[in-house]
Every structure is written in structure tokens, then in C-alpha cells.
């Protein structure tokens, strides 16, 4: 199958060159997604979806254009190439892209023992049904949704420089969102686990325990107060820290924001932007993360150090943003699918490990908060103002070095640089995770990412109820 698609892609870049393109980049994608949702004991959804198509980006003497088609016959592809060339003929100036000196070939495929799409639907339904219906029998649980997501994403990138890349990524995961009720008080807690690999990853995980923990947490949280708003010393757990780093810092490192003056990190290379305990990297392949071997412009994704012991040493780049400041692209040009042109995006963005244990960090805090990731629902940043925010799961107030009151409804906020400058302890327990249920949103596009880090201790603003 891959050979046929590679031939189509190669044909398209050669044809684009014949028709006048200086550089042509073709992407072909076949994505399959399956989702099962059980809601309050009833199967609400068993669905699947597909994305199929070819997109071609051309740079000509006149400009840049990108077009896509869902039809993979030669006539449709010819029309698609001509449409891209026509769009490039717009009469406006465009930045020049970085061009590789030579081609490369890459092939990456997630190891899969049990193809999730050939597993009997009855087995998958049975697992989700049991987890959901058993939860609904628990006193104090008003509502719950349990869901499974399975994804296979095949991406082929071929460029007129001779790049040929094939990647096939398979993800499997289960999530559970539960609403607990106590009198008129209600609280929702949700979480999910995703594994890179086949259905064997689902079979070997203890999902009953996963769901039980969430149900119990929701029952405790519904009776918990909201915290007093204000600034806290916070220990951030290693499930939450990835969200903080991704939102609070990662977006501000993206070259398109930086080059256009849209990031407070513009012009700060070589400057201190975090405490000396903080090293941050973006890496294409990392245990637990989302594998990105080659980006959607055909640039290999390796390891990019962004912050080295507190000093900003680089940004994330596409071909265009790299070329504007005469550096090499970092393999961070990514698109949700072939229906979009690329944006600069993170891959697996995380803080490197330190040498503290969580217990040591908490022991030193007189009054603070232990921010937990389980139940967190995402975040957002304004890279131009440096303000970020994200939601946190049920968390604990720290008093005199001990975890005390559980609190809920926690949202935290801060300033990117001030927050990372306040880090005074970095844990040794690095974890990186991805999700088959979501990812990072930017410019109407969602891409899978890996986020992570070890426990951190820092200062942050907490909003309450």
C-alpha cells in the first residue's frame, strides 16, 4: 500500500516541478478513528471516521500555494497541483523556505501485536459497558461516561528535494468522566489513558482500578470546598506539569509567534527565562509520547533543546520561520490533516528530570497547594501578553509540610517567565503522555502531542469558586 502512495506522491512533486514549482511538498494521509461511548449505562455511540487525501504545497517565483483533494486518481491530483500553482500566483511576497541539500528516507511504524480495528466489536463494547455500568451502581455517582478511542494515522511526505517519509502511528485509549452528587452539590472528574501501540496495550492495563480511582475521587471532591483565591507556593504533580509547560511556555516558543512579535520570548535568546533548575526540550521520539519522526514539511524531528538550565537557547521552527533567522528548521511544522497547511507546533515538549522526590518538595512547604493533574481539562496561553491559565483536578492544601484539605474547582494562572523563574525544585519522576482523545489546538487545527515532566515546585495564582 505504501509503495503505491509513495509513487503517487513522487509523481505529484515531479509534475509540480515540471509546471514551474521551485519546491514541492506532497502529503498523503489515511487516518482511521473508532470511538465507543457508553453513557449512563447505555451505548451512546459506536462510530468510526476516516480521513483520506493528498495535499501539495508549491513554492514558485511568484509565491506559495497549497491545495488538497480527497480523490487520489491522477486527474484529480493534476487539478490539485494546478490549483496550488494558481494560488501561488497571487502577486504578494512570501517568505522563502529553508531548502534541504539532499533527500532523506524515513520509515516509522508503531509496533502493533493486535490490530485494534480487527478486534471483535463485541469485545470492545463489553469492556466499556462493564466499566460504565458498574460505576453507575455506586452510591453517590449521578452520571458517568466511559469511552474508548482507537486511531491509526498513516502520513506520507515526499518533497522535490528527495525526502520520502512514511509513518504509521497506532493509538489506543480509554477515558472515564464521572459526575458525583451530594445533596445539591455536583462535581465532575474525568481522565483518560492512551497507549502508543495496538489493542494489546488495552488488554494489559487494569481499567477497573483506573475507573474506581476516578469514581472515588469524584465522590470525595463533591464534598470538598473551593480554595481561597490568591498566590500560592505550589507543588505541581507530574501528570499536570506537562500541561503547564505546554501552555505556559511551549506556545511562546513556536517560531511563527516569535518571528511576528507575537511572543514575549522574542529577542530573548541567551537570556535567563527560567530558574537554573529548568531544562526544556522538544523531542520527536520519547517513551510514552506521540511519535513524530518527520514533520509535515519533510524535515526530520530530532531533539531540540529550548531552555538549557534556565537560559533560552532556541525556538521551534518550520522551514519558513527557520529561514527568516538563518537557522535550521527543527521539524515542528505540523498540520491536523491534509485539509490544512502547516503551523509551527510542539511535538513532545517536556521538562527534563531533576533530583527531588515529591515528598521532599512537599515537606518544605509551610502553606501551599499540591496541584494534581487527574481531572484537569486543558489550558490556554496568550503568548503576546505572557498570561496563561489551565484547569487543575481535585488538589490538596499543604500545611506545614503535610497534605491536608482536598479542594476542587481549581484554576491556576500566571505569567510565563515569572512562573518558570520561581521554580526552586525539579523532581526525578519524569513522565510523558499523549492522548487519543485530544491534543493541542491552534489556528482551528488540533494535533496530537506528548506532554510531560517531573514534579515541580513554583509559585502560581490560584482562582477559587
Amino acid at each position: 500500500m505504501f509503495e503505491e502512495l509513495l509513487d503517487l506522491a513522487t509523481h505529484s512533486v515531479e509534475r509540480a516541478r515540471e509546471l514551474g514549482a521551485k519546491l514541492a511538498i506532497t502529503r498523503i494521509q489515511r487516518r482511521t478513528y473508532e470511538r465507543i461511548v457508553y453513557d449512563n449505562g447505555t451505548l451512546r455511540e459506536y462510530s468510526f471516521s476516516t480521513v483520506v487525501g493528498l495535499g501539495i504545497k508549491v513554492y514558485t517565483n511568484n509565491g506559495v500555494g497549497y491545495s488538497y483533494t480527497t480523490s487520489l486518481d491522477r486527474e484529480s491530483i493534476e487539478n490539485c497541483i494546478k490549483q496550488a500553482l494558481s494560488m501561488a500566483n497571487h502577486g504578494y511576497t512570501t517568505p522563502n523556505p529553508y531548502v534541504l541539500n539532499q533527500g532523506i528516507a524515513r520509515f516509522y511504524r508503531t509496533p502493533v501485536s493486535k490490530d485494534p480495528f480487527t478486534i471483535d466489536p463485541g469485545e470492545k463494547i463489553s469492556l466499556i459497558k462493564e466499566l460504565n455500568t458498574e460505576s453507575m451502581k455506586i452510591e453517590g455517582i449521578a452520571s458517568c461516561t466511559t469511552f474508548m478511542g482507537l486511531e491509526r494515522d498513516v502520513r506520507i511526505v515526499v518533497t522535490s528535494e528527495g525526502v520520502q517519509s512514511v509513518s504509521e502511528i497506532t493509538l489506543c485509549g480509554i477515558g472515564h468522566t464521572v459526575v458525583a452528587k451530594d445533596g445539591s452539590s455536583m462535581e465532575r472528574v474525568g481522565d483518560s489513558r492512551t497507549f502508543v501501540g495496538g489493542y494489546e496495550t488495552i488488554r494489559r492495563y487494569d481499567w477497573q482500578n483506573f475507573v474506581n480511582e476516578l469514581n472515588n475521587l469524584a465522590k470525595q471532591a463533591v464534598r470538598a470546598p473551593t480554595p481561597s483565591p490568591g498566590k500560592y507556593v505550589a507543588v505541581v504533580d507530574n501528570e499536570l506539569v506537562g500541561l503547564l509547560i505546554h501552555e505556559a511556555f511551549g506556545h511562546a516558543c513556536e517560531g511563527d509567534y516569535v518571528e511576528r512579535g507575537g511572543s514575549i520570548l522574542q529577542g530573548k535568546i541567551g537570556q535567563k527565562v527560567a530558574s537554573e533548575y529548568v531544562t526544556i526540550v522538544d523531542q520527536g521520539l520519547v517513551e510514552g509520547g506521540y511519535p513524530v519522526v518527520v514533520d509535515d514539511e519533510g524535515i526530520p524531528k530530532g531533539r531540540t533543546t529550548i531552555v538549557d538550565r534556565g537560559i533560552l537557547v532556541g525556538y521551534l521552527h518550520s522551514r519558513e520561520t527557520a529561514n527568516q533567522i538563518n537557522v535550521e528548521p527543527t521539524g515542528n511544522a505540523r498540520a491536523e490533516n491534509v485539509y490544512y497547511d502547516i503551523l509551527v507546533r510542539q511535538t513532545n515538549f517536556f521538562v527534563e528530570r531533576g533530583d527531588w522526590t515529591p515528598e521532599e518538595m512537599i515537606r518544605d512547604v509551610k502553606h501551599g497547594i499540591y496541584l494534581r493533574g487527574r481531572g484537569a481539562r486543558g489550558g490556554q496561553v496568550s503568548p503576546v501578553t505572557g498570561t496563561f491559565t489551565f484547569s487543575v483536578g481535585p488538589s490538596y492544601i499543604i500545611e506545614n509540610g503535610e497534605l491536608k484539605q482536598l479542594v476542587r474547582g481549581v484554576t491556576v494562572s500566571g505569567h510565563i517567565i515569572e512562573t518558570l523563574m520561581s521554580v526552586d525544585a525539579v523532581g526525578r519522576d519524569l513522565v510523558v503522555k499523549t492522548s487519543v482523545f485530544g491534543g493541542c489546538g491552534k489556528g482551528h487545527q488540533m494535533v496530537r502531542v506528548g506532554i510531560g515532566g517531573p514534579h515541580l515546585r513554583l509559585q502560581i495564582v490560584v482562582g477559587g469558586g
Binding site: 453513557d39 451505548l43 451512546r44 455511540e45 459506536y46 462510530s47 468510526f48 471516521s49 476516516t50 480521513v51 483520506v52 495535499g55 506559495v64 500555494g65 483533494t69 480527497t70 480523490s71 490539485c80 494560488m87 501561488a88 497571487h90 504578494y92 517568505p95 466489536p121 463494547i125 449521578a142 452520571s143 459526575v179 452539590s185 455536583m186 465532575r188 483565591p229 490568591g230 511563527d256 511576528r260 512579535g261 507575537g262 485539509y339 490544512y340 497547511d341 481539562r377 490556554q380 496561553v381 496568550s382 503576546v384 501578553t385 505572557g386 498570561t387 496563561f388 491559565t389 489551565f390 474547582g409 484554576t411 494562572s413 500566571g414 515569572e418 495564582v461 482562582g463 477559587g464 469558586g465
Partner: protein, 446 residues
Amino acid sequence: MDLEYLAEHGLDLGKKLGADEIEIYVVRSTSCEARSLSSRRIETIFGGSRIDIGVRIVVDKRVAVGGGSISGVEDLESIVRKVFEIAKHTPRDDKWRSLPTKLGFTLFDKAYDPKLAKNDPTVLLDMLDTMTSTVEKHRDINVVRAVARSYIIERMIANSYGRTNIDKHTAIEVFLAVRVSGEESGFYDTFEAKTLERFNPEAFAENCCRLAKLTAHCRAVPTERLNVVLINKVFASIASTLLVPALAAHNVQRERSPLRGKLGEQVLSEDLSIVDDGAAPNLINSKSFDDEGIATQRKVVFDRGVLQTYLYDHYTSTIENRESTGNAVRRAVHEAPQPWSTNFIILPGSEDLEKLVKTIGRGLVVYRTIGEWLSNPINGLLNATISNAVYVENGEVKHGVKGVIICGNIYELLKDKVMALGNDVDGVEGCYAPSIALRDVTIAKP
């Protein structure tokens, strides 16, 4: 490919396979997007056309859905066969009555813009050029990102009981972000509509620059409880996050809504009336029929603060033996429909913005928040981080404010703390609101 042929072909195949009921949703979308860096300089321009199919099949009250983009009839057939196979494996849903039996079509004005329908990239490029040129007249402001997208959407639904006509409309979305030079300050704004009628790119860019400058030079706020004006788009986004999920009938029926059991009760202030209108002229979410083929309509959701109705799709309406309100929404063509808002419109008051700001005396005027969508509709807890605001005293702007969190329970805020309502309705992502003045709002600050 002909949409009607695809729909009929899918129905025929489903019947042959043995489906009790089948629904085919077909959408052709043609889009164009341009991103500009500055005047006469663009980052990229791209576009194309695709057909997406959504299939819902019922076999012995066993329901399955599926779909995706297709390259031809073979892909459609493959999807129908696979959904049929999945349906046979799914458990019976004893609450299932049927697919919608009365499909309809509501005509509304300003659904279609002939200029956008040409799918000519020049329209977008000219618009972006006007916006970026306007920004560049301000020496202390630079463009961070300017994006314009146009769409042509054709859609139809056919099911075992009938079919709709083809609903064809256009849409435009515009995004502009600017930065104040040398400051950690900037502003972004969005515009969305079915047509270009209400859009003035020069005025849009001017307003973005004005608010970027107005909210710069930030300082701390003095106290932890303040009167607040939420500017219309901020209020709209908060209402969309906290009220709409609580009104969706499936959440009410499954005990995930604080509005359960509150029909006929005074939930919000008497100043607040809210309608949901799926066929309002030129509003972004207007359609001739909802995402399962039922004619869209206008309904009063809150009448002077009293809850009048929840939002229903066909499935949730049959559970309560009532009619659908035409609120079936699919997040994507291939997904199952569920009840959600169409155009959710909070009706305006009478105060102009200047008077509204004076109403609060000492407080914050909030022009942009981030993370308000992380607030919790299950219990109504609001948390929104301010990225652009000003601190005012007696209507006079003292300084910019950012980085503080406004928090509280939305039902307490909108019932007991409403001071006044503006006459300036604007919106985001299908939720429209006037600016609102609220008293004594909790602030978390650094």
C-alpha cells in the same frame, strides 16, 4: 459527485443490507484560507473541496454511526457496510423510538454571499491587506497574525422517512492579532458571519489596535472584590461555556446539569432573556435544518430570567414525548448528533457602553479572557483569566490589567449581581451577548 445521488445510493444500500432505519448526511465543503504577515506579504494561501458523509443505521434498536471524507461512491459503500456491521454488534437501546420522521427546511435571509461563493482568493487577500495596512498606520502596533477563511457549504439529509432539500450557504471567519511594540501587550479579535455584509475590515483592525493600546501598561488591581463590565464577546464566551451545556437535554436527562428540574423557575435576573435561533439572518450557525434534518426554529430559552425550555434533538425529545426543538448538532459530520445550541442570543439592554462603564464606578472592564472555556458547567463555577482589561474609576480609565482571575458561580452572578445590560450585541462561535455590568465579583490576583 452529486449529493442527492450519494444520499439515495447510501439509502438503497442500507435497505438492501437489512437496516431497519438508515440516515445519510452528505456535506460538500469548499474552503479557502489566507494568512497574512503584513501588507502585501502573506504566509500562505490554501484551499480545496471535500465531501464528508455521516451514516446512522438502526437494526433492531441497535444504533451505530460512522463516516468521514470520501473520494468516491466506493468509499460511501464501504462506510455503509461497516456501520451496518457495527450496528449488529451494538446492544439494543430500549429508549430508541425512530429517526426523525418529519424532515423540514426553514428559509432565512443572508445565508449566501455571491462574492464568497466565487471562492476567489483575491477577496480574502484584499481583506487582509486592508486590515494589515490599517494596523501599519499605527507606528507602535504590529501585526502578529491575520487570517481569513471562506467556506461554501452544501448539505442534505435523507433518511428512511424522507429527505431535505439541499441547504447551500457561505461563511466567513476573520482573525487578527496585534502587539504593542516594546510591550507585553496586544489584542486579538475575531469576526464570523454567513456573509460579508456586516464586516468592515478597516474598522475591525482599528478597533483591535485601539484595544491593544487601551489595555497596555498593566498594573495590579487594588482589591479582591470589584464591580466588573464583561464586554459582549467575553460575556458570550462565558455563557457559551456554562449555560449551553446545562441546557442540552441529554445533560439534563443524565443528571449532569444544574438546571435539571428548574423549568418555570427564576434562574437568572429579570434583565436577562435568551433565545436560541437556528435560522437567524447572517449568524454563523444558521442552517435551514439541524444536523438530523429537522427544520430550525427560534425558541425562547429564558424569558426575563425564567427558564422556559431545554434544547432537544429528536432522540432526547422522544424520551420526554415532545417535539424536537431543532437543536441536533454534530461536532463532525461522521459523529452522532446531540442537542446543543444553534445561535444562542442573549437579548440586549438599553445602556450604551460608556454609560455601562460609569455604572460600575470603580472596577474592571474586561475585553478579553483566556481559559473561560475551562469553567465547569456541571456546577456553574466560573474561572476566567483576564488577558485584556482596564481598571476604571467613575468611567475614567486608570490603567491596563492582565493576569488576574475572575471567579464565582455563574448562576449567582447572573441572578443577583446584574447591575445593567448594554445595547451592543456581538458574539463568538454562535453565542451572542450584550456587554454586562456585574457587582462585587471575586478577583484572584498575583
